[in-house]
């Protein structure tokens, strides 16, 4: 591939990142703490590459850079960045990362926004409930406590149903689902895995050793995927 073509592809890739940033979708890929730095740094790089294209000599522009095979990944990924809309991670990935997510209490202990478990529990998010469940709560802490949460539905290999949201620490590659196990009933029959739902229910004790506390759903409604589907 010629230097010129590689140059154009790289500029387009950087431009796609800026488009995603300007449309507020960059948090589908990276943690919000990086947004400002990423946008500024890539904007500067984008401008330098544009000027570099102008300043490069004809000889340099026509120089060959690697084989077509070695540059094929860049072609494919740039094409995907242009053609495909930004999207959140799917329930398929949540299923494959399911088991480890059930133990994610220490992160929430360090970074959760809740003050104590005696607060208004209806304000608890999925992260807060996940934190509480992972700490092996006593019955009086959780039994019959009402939860109002939003997330997407998925199940694991054992067909246990969950409502969950992905948590990111750096970028999409480290996304881990924070999930609440649900007592499965006919309520979910019409809902597809991956659907976003708003759920109300109370926690009940079960005989399942892996999930001794599960949410018995009293009300469920399908919702649109929120603009900020992840937890950070």
């Amino acid at each position: 591939m010629r230097f010129k073509s590689l140059h154009k592809l790289t500029i387009i890739m950087a431009g796609c990142l800026l488009i995603v940033a300007l449309t507020g979708k960059l948090t589908l890929y990276i943690h919000p703490r990086y947004i400002t730095f990423t946008t500024l740094s890539v904007a500067v790089g984008f401008m330098l590459l544009l000027v570099g294209l102008y300043c490069s000599s004809t000889k340099q522009l026509n120089k060959r850079y690697g084989s077509l095979l070695s540059t094929m990944p860049l072609i494919i990924v740039t094409l995907c960045a242009v053609v495909l809309a930004p999207s959140s991670l799917s329930q398929s990935l949540a299923s494959s990362r399911s088991s480890i997510s059930q133990q994610n209490n220490l992160y929430q202990t360090a970074h959760s926004t809740i003050d104590s478990f005696s607060n208004d529990l209806t304000r608890f998010s999925i992260a807060d409930w996940n934190n509480l469940l992972a700490s092996a709560p006593s019955a009086d802490t959780i039994e019959n406590k009402k939860a109002m949460i939003e997330g997407f539905l998925y199940n694991n290999d054992d067909n246990q149903l969950y409502v969950a949201r992905f948590r990111l620490t750096c970028c999409a590659v480290d996304a881990t689902p924070l999930a609440i196990p649900l007592i499965q009933t006919d309520t979910f029959a019409d809902l597809e895995l991956g659907s976003w739902v708003a759920i109300e229910g109370v926690f009940k004790s079960t005989s399942d050793e892996q999930h001794p506390w599960q949410l018995e759903v009293s009300s469920i409604s399908q919702i649109e995927e929120p603009d900020d589907p992840y937890i950070f």
């Binding site: 140059h7 890929y29 990924v77 495909l84 480890i100």
Partner: protein, 333 residues
């Protein structure tokens, strides 16, 4: 005539870029095209790694080109100890002043070698800087406030391993370590321009150098991102949990995860924290030591500079050293 043709072709290039970006905007806004779940997840993960790494690559390339073009070799060598065995440990702590992700360290390392530093010396910077910098140390402390031993072992191991790698290659010739392409690059870019040049020429040199260096790295970065993403969508992560009970297997499992996940060293401590209730401290430490030095993305970037056998040797050495570090934590601490 030639100038007119060149200008016309450049204009065509800018039009093509503008059309591509306009298409992206319209397609994203009005069509919202997506692939089936697994493929779409692979694309999302790939773009996640790329979008996270790209700003650091630009930053590292920018600093590298600035060093190559505006810092003379004499000045650089004056700032460092004269003896190579002293220069290596000093370079390994230079990440303190340049807290760039490992993606940004690769172009910077290339710039330092183009300036005359030996590969063995720059290797100590390359493998230590992602860990021995204030951001990584701070985030590791924040993630494990009750386990200062994790922070101490992480930093100490990074220093020791990076310098060991540098020592291993100290007596080898540059030709046996570096790719021929990079050697040619060093020969043509090594010396700073001594003649005085005007601002227009400076801008031209800087932007041309920036473009050339970025384009050398982009295919490797994209290739590494794709491989890391494909492995992550194909390999269920919950498999790791089934082997977390046995300490030695747990260490190996997290070494493999560190290699595949290609996460930035500045925040990998928070990710490791999420694994700490399943995996022992020894495995967590091995993850935090190995990941910043060697992963799929990093290897792809390093392949632009170092020979394949050199990379294999370094990877095995760092892998074994990280494994031993994990064992030491398990049995001795």
């Amino acid at each position: 005539m030639r100038t007119k043709i060149a200008t016309s072709r450049q204009r065509q290039s800018y039009v093509a870029i503008l059309l591509a970006l306009l298409s992206a905007t319209l397609l994203h806004r009005f069509l919202s095209l997506q692939l089936p779940n697994v493929l779409q997840d692979t694309v999302t993960l790939t773009l996640g790694i790329l979008y996270e790494a790209l700003p650091f690559v630009f930053l590292g390339v920018g600093i590298s080109i600035a060093v190559q073009q505006y810092v003379s070799q004499d000045t650089l060598l004056k700032l460092l100890p004269k003896r190579s065995w002293l220069r290596r440990p000093v370079l390994s702590v230079c990440g303190t002043f340049l807290p760039v992700c490992e993606c940004g360290n690769v172009p910077l390392a290339r710039g330092l070698m183009a300036k005359g530093l030996r590969p063995a010396e720059v290797m100590t910077f390359l493998f230590a800087a992602p860990t021995i910098n204030p951001v990584t140390i701070y985030t590791t402390t924040q993630a494990f406030p009750a386990d200062p031993i994790i922070v101490i072992v992480r930093v100490a191991a990074a220093f020791i391993i990076a310098n060991a790698v540098g020592s291993l290659f100290a007596r080898r010739s540059d030709q046996s370590i570096l790719t021929s392409d990079f050697q040619n690059y060093c020969d043509s870019h090594g010396s700073a321009k001594k003649e005085s040049i005007n601002l227009h020429q400076r801008i031209k040199n800087f932007t041309s150098g920036f473009s050339e260096e970025t384009l050398l790295l982009m295919p490797a970065l994209v290739g590494g991102s794709i491989i890391a993403s494909v492995i992550q969508t194909a390999l269920p992560r919950n498999i790791l949990q089934t082997i977390s009970g046995e300490p030695v297997i747990a260490i190996l499992a997290l070494l493999l995860l560190a290699f595949v996940i290609s996460i930035c060293a500045n925040v990998d401590a928070f990710f490791a924290l999420s694994l700490s209730t399943v995996f022992p401290t020894s495995a967590i430490v091995a993850f935090l030591v190995f990941g910043p030095m060697i992963d799929i993305k990093m290897l792809a970037l390093l392949k632009t500079t170092f020979k394949t056998d050199v990379l294999l040797y370094i990877s095995m050495f760092v892998l074994i050293a990280s494994f031993v570090t994990g064992l030491v934590v398990h049995y001795a601490l």
